[in-house]
């Protein structure tokens, strides 16, 4: 590994401007190197501190970020993490999320450049999310919590500044979503009646993972009345069945994020996660007749002709292709709300565990502290 000071001295690595915070903000806005909000200036000293928990080579890319296919080296990502307001302890999770998104099934190129309003939803599981303080309780998808805000924002800044997801040039989203500022949650494992997502996917309980989903913003499921599993799931299915969703046509993996109270009611009815997925697979359907005549003729009859060429108008249109495609987590605080998160169409979720450079699972973020 070349030394940090050598890297910083190489041509084009650094730019100079007035060190007044407002001047830095103006400079970055003029350059287009931000997300529109004020940032912490990524000075060499701050970037170096950000790398305190990075056990990778600082100049070796962990991913290439399209559409520019910019090299996401730790040093570049660290500059974005500084700008976002990350603590150094957050940094390994920012890198991990970018690595996961670079896996082919996620389709980072498509999700970056599409007109669809998708953005990476980051779901963290395992002990490190708790150790560094990623919120899994009240307002989990909202504001206020530094780790949720800064980790998701750092990822987004890297997508813009390294990958060139610049609106109208590399990010063609028609309207986008406010979730493009940050969309980062932890699963509320302590409040869940079910096994957490990473355990369901085969990782050890004490592994720490990120799951990335090319997500729309969350759609609320308000249900203060149902007191049975079927009641909660009926309301969930009703929220999931929307004609304008990519998930009605493609093989994406939408997510139901149950609030703990809804989850307890569903589990109290004797339903496992697998049962929930199967129930929703069978019932979260729309009759084809709910779509426009043009949609029926052009999309269903022609493009999806293997399923719908001669199907009756009341043929069910499913919101996911098979039961296991639905991602189910439990997150949030008290209250009778859950969330449904539709996705981009041509994408799959990716889950990656946090490992040390030697391949061992990281049990505490302190294992990664340098020197």
């Amino acid at each position: 590994m070349s030394s940090l000071s050598t890297m910083l001295a190489s041509p084009g690595t650094m730019v100079q401007c007035d060190d007044d915070p407002e001047a830095v903000y103006e400079f970055l806005c003029e350059k287009g190197w931000n997300d529109g909000l004020p940032v912490i200036p990524p000075t060499p000293a701050r970037v170096e501190r950000m790398l305190a928990y990075c056990d990778r080579d600082f100049d070796k890319p962990v991913a290439k970020i399209p559409p520019r296919f910019g090299a996401a080296t730790p040093i570049r990502v660290a500059a974005n993490a500084v700008m976002a307001g990350c603590k150094p302890e957050y940094f390994p999770l920012v890198l991990l999320a970018l690595e996961a998104m670079a896996e082919e099934p996620y389709n980072l190129y498509g999700t970056q450049a599409t007109t669809h309003p998708c953005t990476p939803m980051l779901i963290f599981n395992g002990p490190i999310a708790r150790e560094i303080g990623i919120n899994a309780g009240h307002n989990v998808m909202g504001n206020y919590f530094r780790a949720n805000a800064a980790i998701g924002r750092a990822v987004r800044l890297a997508l813009v500044n390294i990958g060139a997801a610049i609106p109208g040039i590399g990010d063609m989203a028609t309207a986008g979503t406010p979730a493009k500022f940050t969309f980062c949650v932890a699963e509320n494992e302590a409040a869940s009646p079910w096994e957490p997502l990473h355990v369901e996917l085969g990782f050890p309980q004490d592994a720490s993972t990120v799951t990335v989903i090319a997500a729309e913003g969350p759609h609320n499921i308000n249900d203060h009345e149902s007191i049975t599993a079927e009641g909660i799931l009926t309301m969930t299915a009703g929220t999931m069945t929307i004609t304008g969703s990519n998930n009605a046509y493609y093989a994406g993996q939408p997510c139901v994020a149950f609030g703990p109270e809804h989850a307890q009611t569903v589990a109290g009815g004797g339903m496992s996660k697998a049962d929930v997925k199967k129930w929703l697979f069978e019932r979260a359907t729309l009759p084809m007749s709910r779509f426009s005549q043009e949609g029926i003729e052009r999309r269903f009859r022609r493009k999806l002709s293997d399923q719908y060429a001669n199907a009756p108008l009341d043929a069910p249109v499913r919101m996911f292709a098979k039961p296991d495609d639905l991602i189910v987590i439990v997150t949030g605080g008290a209250g009778k709300h859950s969330a449904y998160i539709p996705t981009f169409g041509n994408t799959r979720s990716v889950t990656q565990p946090l490992r040390r450079a030697d391949g061992e699972l990281v049990k505490s973020i302190q294992e990664l502290k340098r020197g």
Partner: protein, 72 residues
């Protein structure tokens, strides 16, 4: 199209005007900055066949020009 161009074939991309910046940038990223972009009016999706034919009529002369230039 970038791969076809690199293999020496004549290639071009039909691109609606709203996507010209993306198309131009991607041609550079993929190492074929001179890849011809055949500019048509946006949108291309959600059109009836008459509108699709109108766009084809705009793209076709551009394509023929590219082919003639590449062959000469």
């Amino acid at each position: 199209m970038a791969q076809l161009t690199k293999r020496g074939l004549i290639a071009a991309v039909v691109c609606s005007d709203s996507f010209m910046k993306l198309g131009t940038a991607q041609a550079k990223v993929f190492g074929v900055p001179d890849l011809p972009l055949l500019k048509i009016q946006h949108p291309l999706g959600g059109l009836n066949m008459d509108k699709v034919r109108e766009r084809a009529a705009v793209a076709l002369p551009q394509l023929l020009k590219v082919v003639k230039e590449k062959q000469s």
